[in-house]
Point group: C2
Chain length 374, copies 2
């Protein structure tokens, strides 16, 4: 059996390991917290710091392959492991581009991939020259995650909230729709796309609120979305699973917002709604199996379960009994002991052929299932 | 989080634990082999003998609930644990009836549940008086499993193959169809049935060959099957998951063959083909959640992957690449390191609305994916 490691032990690792149990593979996880969601579902858990060279190198040495469930891992260790023959998903060169928002934007520009206008800023001071560029989003180059590291700057008075570190200032576009596409790339470069999904965001936390799969797109926009998403992963030149997030503006321009080089929140519905889930697909890629079928079995909605405001401590799922009675809902609780405001504690997938039913049940879940502390 | 233990660490435990990762629950497994399929998917693995009082009692003490994935567990320990407040799924009283084939048959008779004619035999010697009862199946009272403990006796010359231990001799019926029904019973006695499935057996090993869900039954037989299966679990008076296997004879009589008080091979398709899988359902029961939706999303076939004759040793899955290319197939490999003839090494589920497509792909899997040793 191949030995495969996952850097990071959150819910993505947890769902990867649920899927891994369908294949002959020996699994390893490294994470700082031995009570993390993935710790009890692998063959071997190692407590360690995924940002430290020594920890990542020691963990990866001797494995056949290594993947990530979060971008903030030590790249230098991955590069050394790759040079020594460990297969890394995604390749460190692709991860390097994506993980730094400045390099990522410059990559899109260099590859002529449509993306919103931007300038690189190196300090808060530098923002002061850029009043003409407003309104804009200021995104920190390194370390942003789940809505952290992004500030909306509407007027020059907002500059004080800008980052005093290398960052990009992106001109705001008038967004008609936000779309995500999960894409699988095999070792030989074969590419398969999942049907694009419509994303609806929580404007406060900048976290996915709910999403509908497949996206409601006219044929010409669907083709544009698929062509652009395909070009992103082709140009990244790495096997693995990628999530490409795109904007459609008021003039029907399709712009790449950002890319994640890993399984992604916008693909969780694929567990029940598609023949081959994004998690199953990553194992197929890593284990050298053929790519799976990305077609959907049923249209789906996803609702994220976020820790409610004002509650920090041992998690309690108010309304869980009611949501478990929804006949077409699939509940995933990530098993995190502690909740805090905005923390991803689980998700619920709803299947239905009727879009109105998807939205109706998504709202029932969103307002009926509240993660509080005991 | 509730602490829940599973006695036995085979593939049923493995699939239970895959499903458990959707809920907040702390999982425990006991099995003799620390490399068993379920060992790496629980929070706490205990090496121990599930047939020994001391081991089972020590394992169960302090847990909130306990379930089984095989019948041959120490009942006395379960009874003591139940008396001390541990919830047991199924209740020891129900397990006691089912696990002994003699008590099980007598239970059907006492409850007026239709079953084939039988006599109890206490020794091989006793068979000699029963020539008039042939052809018949001789089934050992305790310890039979997966085709072991069953002998077909057609003439008195076959008596030498009979069991020299307490057993039942069942008159053979002319079987038109074999049906299985998975049933969920909640703590409060609420019952939900999954759609019955058609079972096709490998006559050599008496192992399930493939099955089709839902079964192709006329309305009047479907109602009879459902009514009888429902009566079996009602009379067993225990929460849990049950699999009731039934014969339909050439006169359209519906007879109970046997019952398993646990998740069952005949319900594996429910992972992909039904809204709530049998594994998910057992967690709902144990955790006191509402019962899930048993409706099917898609008709399905299951093929079991059994170790091929003549191969014993580290498992190798010949033809796996080809089967993974079937666009509507879901592969489950149980991760057992060693194969041997007839050992259950995995299963493949196929989804399709077309019965011919189900049978076609089931046969492709059956003849195309062979478990050999390296």
């Amino acid at each position: 059996m191949k030995k495969v490691g996952i850097l990071g032990g959150g819910q993505l690792g947890r769902m990867l390991l649920q899927a891994a149990a369908n294949y002959p593979v020996e699994t390893f996880v490294m994470e700082n917290d031995s009570e993390c969601p993935a710790a009890n579902l692998c063959h071997h858990f190692a407590k360690g710091d995924i940002t430290k060279f020594e920890d990542v190198y020691a963990f990866g040495k001797g494995l056949d392959a290594l993947t990530i469930e979060i971008e903030s891992v030590n790249e230098a260790a991955l590069e050394k492991l790759e040079a020594e023959g460990v297969l890394i998903y995604p390749k460190p060169a692709a991860l390097k581009i994506i993980k730094n928002k400045i390099l990522q934007k410059q990559f899109y520009k260099a590859q002529e991939i449509p993306t919103s206008e931007f300038v690189v800023t190196t300090s808060r001071e530098a923002l002061l020259q850029l009043t003409d560029f407003l309104p804009a989003a200021h995104k920190i180059g390194l370390g942003g995650y789940d809505g952290k590291g992004v500030e909306l700057l509407r007027t020059s008075e907002d500059f004080s909230r800008g980052f005093d570190a290398p960052a990009i200032l992106e001109k705001l576009v008038t967004i008609k729709k936000e779309i995500a596409v999960i894409i699988a790339v095999s070792n030989s470069g074969e590419i398969r796309l999942y049907p694009p999904v419509d994303m609806v965001f929580d404007s406060r936390l900048n976290l996915l609120d709910y999403q509908i799969s497949p996206a409601d797109l006219p044929q010409n926009l669907l083709w544009k979305v698929e062509a652009i998403a395909r070009k992103v992963v082709k140009d990244l030149q790495s096997p693995g699973i990628f999530a490409v997030e795109l904007f459609i503006d008021d003039k029907d321009n399709v712009l790449v917002n950002e890319t994640a080089p890993r399984v992604h929140n916008s693909g969780h519905h694929t567990i029940e709604a598609n023949y081959c889930s994004q998690f199953d697909m990553l194992w197929r890629i890593i284990l050298g199996y053929p790519l799976g079928n990305t077609n959907h079995i049923f249209p789906a909605a996803i609702v994220n379960l976020l820790g409610a405001d004002g509650f920090t401590g041992p998690a309690y799922y108010e309304g869980l009994q009611e949501v478990l009675q929804i006949e077409n809902a699939f509940v995933h609780i990530y098993g995190k002991k502690e909740t805090k405001p905005g923390r991803k504690m689980g998700h619920v997938t709803i299947l239905s052929r009727e879009k109105q039913e998807l939205i109706h049940q998504a709202n029932r879940v969103k307002f009926g299932l509240i993660v509080k502390s005991q």
